[in-house]
Amino acid sequence: MSITPFNVPIVPKLKRETILSLAKRGVRIDKRRLDQFRPISIQLGAAGKAHGSALVSIGNTKVLAGVKIEPGRPFPDTPEEGVLNVNAELVPLASPEFEPGPPDENAIELARVVDRALRESHAIDMSELVLIPGEKVWVVWVDIYVLDHDGNLFDASMLAAMAALMDAKIPNHQVLEDGSVEILGPGVEPLPIRKKVVSVTLGILGDTFIVDPSLEEEAVADGKIFFAFDDSGNIVGIQKSGPAWLDFKKVSVAMEIARNRYHNVLAALNKAFQS
C-alpha cells in the first residue's frame, strides 16, 4: 500500500516561495541555470570486492553501485539469457529521513526505474551471458547504495549503475563437466555492454522544469520526471514520480530539455573510462 508521506519535515513557506519565484525568473537557489547539472564525478573501482563498482557524486549526492557476477539459473522463460537484478538500498547513513529496514516504495521505484532503463535498452547483451544453455547463466547483480542524499537519486543511481557495469569484469571461471561453475579468480573480460544509458531528471515546479533538482528543490517541487537515453539519443525509459502533473503540451518540452542535457552526463561517463 502506498501512503501519502506524512512524517516528512515541513518546508518553511518562505523557502518554498523563494525557490519558486527564483525559478520563474530562470535562476536557482544555488546559482545554477534551470537546465544545469551540479558537478558530476565518477570514481571507478570504489568497492574492491565487487566485480565492478563506481562511486558517483552529483553535487553532494553520493551513490555507490557495486556489481557482482555469479553463476546461477536462468529464468524459465528466457533459458538462453543471463539474469540482471537491480537492487537499491537507501541506507540510513545517507539521510535523516531514511530508516533501517527492507527497501520501501522509494527504494523499490528507484531500483526498478534503473533496472528497466538498462533492460529495455538492451544495454547488456544478455544472450552472451550463458554458461550452459537452459542450465547455468551469469546472474548480474547491481546493488545501488545511496551514501549521501542531496536530491536527484535517479540520475546518480542510473549513472553509478551504468559505470559499475562498464567497470565490471566477468570472473575467471571454468565450466565443469558436472555442470557446476568453478570460479578461478578475478577476470579481465568485460560484460557485453551494447549501449550506454544515462538519464536526466527534471524537477517539476508548477510550469517550470529544473534539471537535476537538489534535495531542497525536491522538497518544494510537485514531483519530477526521469528520462533515460541510450547513446544514440533514443528514449529508453520515463518515469513521472511524485504527486505532480504536467500540461499535456509541456510533456514534449520536458523531454527536449532532458534530451539537450544527456550529453553532459554521457560525457562524464566517457571521461571516467578514458583514464
Binding site: 500500500m1 502506498s2 501512503i3 501519502t4 506524512f6 522463460d77 528466457t78 539469457e81 516504495e105 522509494n106 523499490i108 521505484e109 531500483a111 526498478r112 528497466r116 533492460r119 529495455e120 535498452s121 538492451h122 544478455m126 514531483g223 520526471i225 541510450d230 539519443g233 533514443n234 528514449i235 529508453v236 525509459g237 520515463i238 518515469q239 513521472k240 514520480s241 511524485g242 504527486p243 505532480a244 502533473w245 504536467l246 500540461d247 499535456f248 503540451k249 510533456v251 514534449s252 523531454m255 527536449e256 534530451r259
Partner: protein, 242 residues
C-alpha cells in the same frame, strides 16, 4: 518486451494480431457501484483485462498517521493470484509496490485532499484478470470509485497504454503486444484540465515516436474518459429511478 519472438505476427497489413487497427481500443466495459461495503466502487474491463476498485473515506486514520492540512491518500494496486498465466503469490511484489505508488501519486493531483484534514482516503484496486494495461485500467477504475464515493476531485483520471509493436505505434496494447513489443508507455490524464498525471515508458522510442505516442495516448484517454462519464451517469440514473 521480454525480447523473445512472438508466436503470432504482431502487425500485418495494417492490422494487429487481434484484428484491431493501430488506434483501436479493445472492447471496454465499465460499471460503477458494484460493491456494497465500499463507499464507492467500480469494475472496469479492457478486453480481457479486468479490475475492481473500491474507495473508502474520508475516514479516521490509524493513530499517528495524519496530516494537519489535508487527507492522506492510501492506495493499493494488487493482483489476484489467479489473475495471471501462472499463479501469482498474493504477497505484494516489487512491481505492485511501485505501481501502487505511481497510481497514488497520479490520484493525488486531482483529489481535493485539502477539504478533509486529518482523515484518510483509501483506494484499493484488485486485478481480476491481467492481459496488458492493468495499471491504466486500475487508475481508470480507481477514479470512478472515488467519484462514486462522492469524494471531490478536480477531474476524473483516465488511462491507456501506447505500445510499439513490429515498429508501429499502437494504442491500448494487450499482453502479447506488451510481451513481444518494443515499447509500452502507460499514460493517464485529466482530460478536462489537459493534464498528464501518470507517465511511464518501458522500452525504446525515438523522440519523434515519443511525441506521436503521446498524442495517440491522449486520443485514447479521451475515449476512456467519455466511457467513464457514461458509466457514472448510468449509476446516477439507476439511483434516481429507485
Amino acid at each position: 518486451m521480454s525480447g523473445g519472438k512472438s508466436p503470432v505476427p504482431l502487425f500485418k497489413d495494417g492490422k494487429r494480431h487481434d484484428g484491431r487497427g493501430p488506434m483501436d481500443l479493445r472492447p471496454i466495459e465499465m460499471k460503477v457501484g458494484v460493491l456494497n461495503n465500499a463507499n464507492g466502487s467500480a469494475w472496469v474491463k479492457f478486453g480481457r483485462t479486468e479490475v475492481i476498485a473500491a474507495a473508502y473515506g474520508p475516514r479516521e486514520p490509524p493513530k499517528f498517521m495524519s496530516l494537519p492540512d489535508r487527507a492522506l491518500l492510501r492506495c493499493r494496486y494488487h493482483m489476484a493470484p489467479f489473475s495471471t498465466d501462472e499463479r501469482k503469490n498474493p504477497a505484494p511484489s516489487r512491481r505492485e509496490i511501485e505501481l501502487s505508488k505511481v497510481i497514488r501519486e497520479a490520484l493525488e493531483t486531482v483529489v481535493l485532499t485539502h477539504l478533509f484534514p486529518r482523515t484518510v482516503i483509501d483506494v484499493f484496486v484488485e486485478v481480476i484478470q491481467a492481459d496488458g494495461g492493468t495499471r491504466t485500467a486500475a487508475i481508470t477504475a480507481a477514479s470512478l470509485a472515488l467519484a462514486d464515493a462522492g469524494i471531490p476531485m478536480k477531474d476524473l483520471v483516465a488511462g491507456i497504454a501506447v505500445g510499439k509493436v513490429d515498429g508501429h505505434l499502437v494504442l491500448d496494447i494487450d499482453q502479447i503486444e506488451d510481451n513481444y513489443g518494443e515499447a509500452d508507455m502507460p499514460v493517464a490524464g485529466a482530460v478536462n484540465l489537459d493534464k498528464v498525471v501518470l507517465l511511464q515508458l518501458n522500452g525504446s522510442l525515438t523522440p519523434e515516436e515519443f511525441n506521436k505516442a503521446m498524442y495517440m495516448a491522449w486520443e485514447g484517454i479521451k475515449k476512456v474518459y467519455a466511457l467513464q462519464k457514461k458509466a457514472l451517469e448510468e449509476k446516477l440514473r439507476k439511483e434516481v429511478n429507485l
